[in-house]
């Protein structure tokens, strides 16, 4: 039987004629002439007040009296004058006109008033209910096996040891076990072998890199701001390292949540907690001279509201931005109440000395090279400035710069007077580059990418200054409900608050949020990271389960509402969440619990494929372990690891991999100019770091990561997809990265063993080759060797200067210029011309091994 809940909330109704029809029509059909840009006849139709006031012809609306209201008479065309103009064709539809009539007759409420009744099925509100209590001790397998028995399905038997060690090693570290590790585990017959393995992997620093990457997906992490300038966020990497450290240190999850939402307020003086607040600024954001401040501020507020709710609470609160949530008990009012929590949150980039664990040492050469590149761009600017000075001196017939009319030179360098348009274009280009390099130099500066309650240091994320009040006079902007999400149509004011549904549905008490500048986020963080919050622990436990099994117990990790998939094992989810809280929110304990279960250790094929295809095609009941493809980063890291090229240098500013030359040299538009060229890091050990440490530029995603379904960086990614598209084949079979790695793998194998072919198999697959494989590999090797003996590899061509062409905005004509070269001495990858024909032939074998399905799938 389905019990129905009734919620009563004073919020706009979804079916309300105003929000559904009247307001959109006012915006679409009327405000073009009677709005922000124009107010023809003195009439402004953007607010209720201005409608009541009306224009030259008098009040537009008489509340309660539609027929007497000029607005309605106009849209009906009853007085011989019709709005919008344009005859019958332009006349608003009868339905729209009817909605206007209804709305005016109802008193023309700008916000819909009066209680609205909401009806939800209990099953759709499961996530808001308190966690179940369990009287007797339970186990994961108890829950899983009971369901299987119910459906008459037999679980697969335990996977073999080789499969198990690969599965768990990739799962916990993102890297495959080596051949030596596999052999040792297969040989270890002690009953504790599995437990020991799990503990060893959980203690590895590679663990935090793997699980930190999962969190960064959800946290929409990037090292740049996106949009037109895509300015670097030079200190954002400290948040990335903080996340990795937190996982490695098994920081209690409730503390991890508090730090990210309100670390600055709750733990003053704690460096980690300040860095953690970088989470709040993670979304794409930009403010330029062409932006509207109210709009860009609202963009931040919308992002942070949505990100906080979806990351920690698994709710699609963003849906309630424009209207009450259509499926979940999330009224628009709640959305803006939670947004008001962040109304006093401002960007900050305070000085914060590096922690001992933050690796910025060893990067001096990189910093020096960057400074030199910056200096060169400044020098190029100075050249043009000199030229402009000469031209202005000539124009004014004076001899010295100081004799020029005051402000003339500054004005000229701003507008281009004094230079030919194309000269000015180049000046602007180097000015843009200098600005970008200057920002990049801050990577090495001990500052935190953070927030503060109230303005602190005028941080603007690279853009022009924002109009802040001085700190002493600062009053947080009031937050109003924005029907339709439109910042220009503010309605009712709201006070900061938490969501109402957990209390109304499940009895988890809402808390008051102070209206002071400080303390708002602390109160929210404490409400979220509370053992009685029904969502927080469930959401995290489910995320962890999803990464282990490929799917969550609840199938949509960031949507625990009606439209998200219902949990397949709701009791198990609750039991795990309880136990997670009881064990001090320890994520590592949670891993252990899951990994030691039989469910995790099952074989990768069903016992009865036909039955499974019929009863449980998506393996939701976990009768076997679902194989999966390596994610983009894991694929890259494992290729480098096999090749012996993976660097375990950890932390510090993001490094730059060697990406496809074609992508690297692709000109990229930056506002008003072109981006500087892409320069890979000079040293191999920097370029070949684990993918989590690579610089994440929103407008230039590493094409290797991108093609294997990497996250977009603009949106949170709750779960990677593994679609298979032909461009992936191009990347792995033709791409330079794969060829370089295959050559390095071959050189390594040849060096490590007299039987290079066998060793290549061991390094790539951590197993001995089968006899038939060995025969085929030797066959390819022989044919390939014959070819390579006849075709010596030519030396790499010298690097050509990078010439870019751009269309001048000033003249509309194209011009070319030479992009800056890197100031670092480049340590090139191994080149075919440097190795023997034998190694080159072996690299053909290696390339095939890296391309084969066995390399990409984990069982």
């Amino acid at each position: 039987m389905t019990k129905l809940y009734l919620l009563v909330a004073t919020v706009a109704l979804a079916q309300d004629p105003f929000t559904e029809t009247v307001l959109p029509s006012l915006k679409r059909d009327c405000q073009g002439c009677h709005g922000a840009a124009l107010a023809l006849s003195g009439l402004d139709l953007r607010t209720r007040e201005s409608l009541l006031k009306g224009g030259k012809r008098g009040a537009a609306v008489v509340p309660g009296k539609a027929s007497e209201s000029l607005l309605l008479r106009m849209i009906e065309g009853v007085d011989g004058l019709q709005m919008p103009p344009g005859g019958e064709k332009q006349k608003l539809s009868p339905a729209v006109r009817h909605a206007f009539r209804e709305w005016i007759d109802a008193g023309a409420p700008w916000k819909a008033e009066g209680p609205a009744k909401w009806t939800y099925a209990e099953a759709d509100l499961w996530a808001f209910q308190p966690l179940r209590r369990f009287a007797s001790p339970m186990t994961i397998d108890g829950f899983i096996d009971a369901k299987l028995r119910e459906r008459g399905m037999a679980p697969a038997s335990k996977a073999d040891r080789r499969t198990l060690i690969q599965r768990v090693t990739v799962d916990l570290t993102g890297l495959r076990a080596t051949h030596e590790e596999v052999k040792a585990f297969v040989a270890d017959q002690s009953p504790q072998a599995w437990e020991k393995l799990v503990d060893r992997l959980l203690a590895s620093p590679r663990y935090g890199e793997r699980w930190g990457r999962h969190w960064l997906d959800v946290a929409r992490y990037a090292d740049s701001g996106g949009y037109s300038n895509d300015f670097e966020r030079p200190n954002a990497w400290r948040y990335r390292d903080y996340v990795i450290r937190s996982f490695n240190a098994d920081k209690p999850y409730d503390r991890f949540v508090r730090e990210q939402i309100a670390g600055d307020e709750l733990y003053p003086g704690d460096a980690e907690a300040l860095i953690a607040t970088g989470f709040l600024r993670g979304g794409p954001w930009e403010h330029t001279a062409m932006s509207v401040e109210a709009v860009t501020r609202q963009m931040f507020l919308d992002d942070v509201t949505h990100a906080t709710a979806s990351t920690f609470l698994g709710l699609t609160l963003g849906c309630a931005r424009c209207h009450d949530h259509k499926f979940d008990p999330l009224p628009t009012r709640d959305y803006y109440r939670m947004q008001a929590v962040f109304a006093s949150t401002e960007f900050a980039r305070p000085a914060l000395p590096f922690l001992p664990s933050e690796l910025v040492q060893g990067r001096e050469a990189e910093k020096k090279a960057l400074a030199a590149t910056h200096a060169k761009a400044l020098a190029r600017m100075a050249d043009y400035r000199k030229l402009a000075v000469q031209n202005l001196l000539k124009k004014h017939g004076v001899a010295r710069e100081e004799d020029l009319p005051k402000g003339e030179l500054a004005q000229a360098m701003n507008t281009g007077a004094g230079l030919e348009p194309l000269q000015f274009e180049e000046y602007k280009l180097f000015q843009k580059h200098a600005q970008i390099y200057k920002e990049s130099l801050d990577r090495f500066a001990p500052k935190a990418f953070a927030v503060s309650s109230g303005p602190r240091d005028g941080e603007t994320d690279g853009g022009p200054a924002l109009r802040y009040a001085a700190r002493a006079k600062y009053v947080p902007a009031g937050v109003r409900i924005l029907p339709g999400g439109n910042v220009q149509s503010p309605a009712e004011a709201v006070t900061p608050g938490v969501l109402s549904a957990p209390e109304i549905v499940g009895g988890y008490r809402a808390v008051d949020i102070p209206e002071t500048v400080e303390g708002r986020r602390s109160a929210l963080a404490n409400w979220i990271a509370h053992p009685e919050n029904p969502l927080t622990a469930r959401v995290m436990v489910n995320r962890v389960w999803q990464y282990h099994f490929g799917q969550g117990l609840a199938g949509d990790a960031s949507n625990f509402g009606k439209m998200g998939k219902k949990p397949t094992h709701p009791e198990l989810l609750d039991w795990l969440a309880r136990s997670f809280i009881e064990r001090g929110w320890s994520v590592k304990q949670l891993h252990r619990q899951i990994l030691l279960s039989r469910a995790y250790q099952r074989g990768p094929a069903p016992v009865d494929a036909a039955l499974v295809a019929k009863q449980d095609p998506d393996n939701l009941l976990l009768s076997y372990f679902s194989p999966r493809r390596l994610e983009a980063e894991a694929l890259r890291d494992n290729i480098l690891a096999a090749a012996g090229e993976l660097s375990f240098d950890a932390g510090g500013p993001g490094t730059f991999p060697q990406i496809s030359e074609d992508v690297a040299s692709q000109p990229r538009h930056r506002m008003g100019s072109l981006a500087p060229p892409y320069h890979p890091s000079a040293l191999r050990r920097e370029r070949n770091r684990r993918s989590v440490y690579l610089f994440q530029q929103r407008s230039l995603i590493d094409p290797f990561i991108d093609v294997f379904n990497g996250p977009s960086l603009d949106l949170a990614c709750e779960r990677r997809v593994a679609s298979t598209v032909p461009t992936q084949s191009f990347t792995l079979f033709n791409g330079q990265f794969a060829h370089d790695a295959a050559l390095a793998l071959a050189a390594r194998a040849a060096k490590e063993s007299p039987d290079g072919i066998r060793r290549t198999f061991e390094l790539a697959y951590a197993r001995d080759p089968e006899a038939s494989e060995l025969t085929e590999a030797r066959n390819l090797y022989a044919r390939s060797l014959a070819w390579h003996r006849q075709h010596p590899a030519p030396k790499p061509p010298p690097r050509k200067p990078l010439i870019h062409r751009i269309t001048s905005e000033l003249t509309g004509e194209s011009f070319s210029f030479q992009q800056e070269e890197s100031e670092s001495a480049y340590e090139a990858n191994l080149h075919p011309s440097e190795v023997t024909p034998e190694v080159r032939a072996l690299s053909d074998v290696a390339l095939a091994l890296l391309n084969a399905n066995e390399f990409s799938y984990v069982y």
Binding site: T724, V725, T807
Partner: protein, 466 residues
């Protein structure tokens, strides 16, 4: 990951067919894939779309919507209040500025267009101009995202991705959605042709003008087809053995199939991008070989777009940048117009004479229009126009759009659309409608709700459908 009973495809790939085997394509076509052609939801003429994206915001006032009133108001000064809903750029001391261009009447309707568009003047009877569209953002990247993906935030599927999702594509050897960028990637980068939350099959694939057309389509220098063939044979054996150990694991077969498709693409693409197969007369029609390098480059992309459409590609986006003329609009827009005239008129003429125009919708649009006024930067000759989301000109041709029509109007200075005014989402709904898709039905469930291109629904702009 699903287990499946072996399909014909598994048997083919498991049964020892070598990679690169062309014979497979017809046998595979019978099986349903993400790009299998699908029926239109509503009967419509257009089967393909060529979207000519003018990046930077072309001025409607100086192209297709002349405003003689501005000649009277020229250099009239006014003060625009700085308020929180205006960008800094658009406030302060402002001057109305006249268009420096001459206009000519073209076509049966005598539509006034910029006189520099000599070739395009001959195509006007096939074109439907629309002057009622409004954008929302005055910032390039957000406005570009809005035009290309329906939202101002990057990360949602592009129009071409939605269309590919709705209709599939006719040629299984080529991507369904191709992008022909200008020399530089636009602001906001590749998110402008993203598949967003739709499966990766629908992502726009940029075709590069230099090097191999698709990234890594050719191996590094020194890797000959002979060497590749040897490696592939070995690879095929590895995969066969692996699959035998994991029977029923459907993804393995899909991955093999994608290698097959990649190599068919590798075989087919060079022939398609080779424009030298076209007659000198056709090349000249598009302005290819002209001294004007920009015309030559855009002409090549327009001709390539026609060739792709001919090969069954569903959606081609051609990008022409450089329209952001805040200063020197006479020079800047003048040179843009000279650069696009032959390529776009060549495209329309060529589509028409090859019979493709009926089934190909051609769209010409920038991310917003430009303002009638300008903050003067450098005396009286340097003026240009700033961004304007309230008015713009776009046009449609072919594929079920009206032939020879002007729809909507802006006010007397071109500051704002006043007739047949519609927001961008209605334009998107209309484009889908012209391609036989219903925005209300073309939905994809993601993150807990049914998503659609228009976000919240919209209406077809009836006047833009013949």
């Amino acid at each position: 990951m699903r287990f499946a009973t072996p399909s014909r495809r598994d048997l083919l790939f498991g049964g020892g067919m070598g990679l690169g085997s062309i014979a497979l394509s017809s046998m595979l076509a019978a099986e349903e894939g993400p790009l299998t052609p699908k029926a239109q939801q509503i009967p419509a003429k257009a089967k393909h779309c060529i979207f000519l994206l003018m990046e930077g915001g072309p001025s409607h006032i100086d192209t297709f919507d002349p405003k003689p009133k501005l000649a009277q108001l020229h250099m009239t000064r006014f003060q625009k209040e700085r308020n929180k809903f205006e960008a800094n750029m658009n406030t302060g001391e402002r001057y109305y500025v006249r268009s420096p261009f001459e206009f000519r009447r073209a076509g049966k309707l005598g539509v006034e267009i910029n006189s520099l568009l000599e070739g395009f003047a001959g195509c006007v009877d096939d074109v439907c101009f629309y002057r009622g569209l409004k954008a929302e953002s005055v910032n390039h990247p957000t406005a570009l995202y809005h035009l290309n993906t329906g939202t101002q935030f990057g990360g949602d599927p592009a129009v071409g991705a939605w269309v590919s999702y709705g209709l599939g594509t006719e040629n299984q050897n080529l991507p369904s959605f191709l992008v022909l960028p200008d020399v530089a990637y636009p602001q906001g980068g590749q998110a402008n042709w993203s598949n967003g939350f739709l499966p990766a099959h629908y992502q726009g694939t940029p075709l590069r003008s230099q090097g191999t057309p698709i990234l890594d389509m050719a191996p590094p220098p020194g890797v000959t087809p002979e060497r590749q063939k040897m490696t592939l044979e070995f690879l095929s054996g590895l995969n066969r053995r692996h699959q035998a150990q994991h029977p029923g694991h459907a993804d393995l077969a899909a991955r093999l199939q994608s290698y097959e498709l990649a190599f068919r693409m590798q075989a087919e693409m060079p022939g398609i991008v080779d424009l030298e197969k076209e007659s000198p007369e056709t090349l000249a029609l598009y302005g290819i070989g002209e001294a004007n390098a920009d015309a030559d480059s855009l002409g090549r992309r327009c001709l390539l777009a026609r060739r792709l459409v001919q090969k069954g590609v569903r959606f081609v986006q051609v990008i022409a940048m450089g329209w952001d003329s805040h200063d020197y609009i006479d020079k800047a827009h003048g040179s843009r117009l000279r650069a696009i005239d032959k390529p776009i008129s060549g495209l329309l003429t060529d589509l028409k004479r090859t019979g493709l125009l009926d089934e190909t919708l051609v769209v010409w649009a920038g991310e917003f229009g430009r303002s009638p006024d300008n903050g003067i930067r450098q005396g009286s000759t340097a003026w240009g126009r700033d961004h304007n989301a309230n008015a713009m000109s776009v046009w449609l041709a072919g594929g079920g759009a009206p032939r020879g029509a002007v729809v909507g109007a802006t006010d007397e200075v071109g500051g704002s659309a006043v007739e047949v005014v519609h927001p961008l989402r209605d334009f998107h709904v209309t484009l889908l409608r012209l391609l036989g898709l219903d925005d209300g039905k073309l939905r994809y469930f993601h993150a807990g709700r049914d998503k659609q291109l228009s976000q919240v629904g919209g209406e077809v702009i009836r006047e833009l459908v013949a």
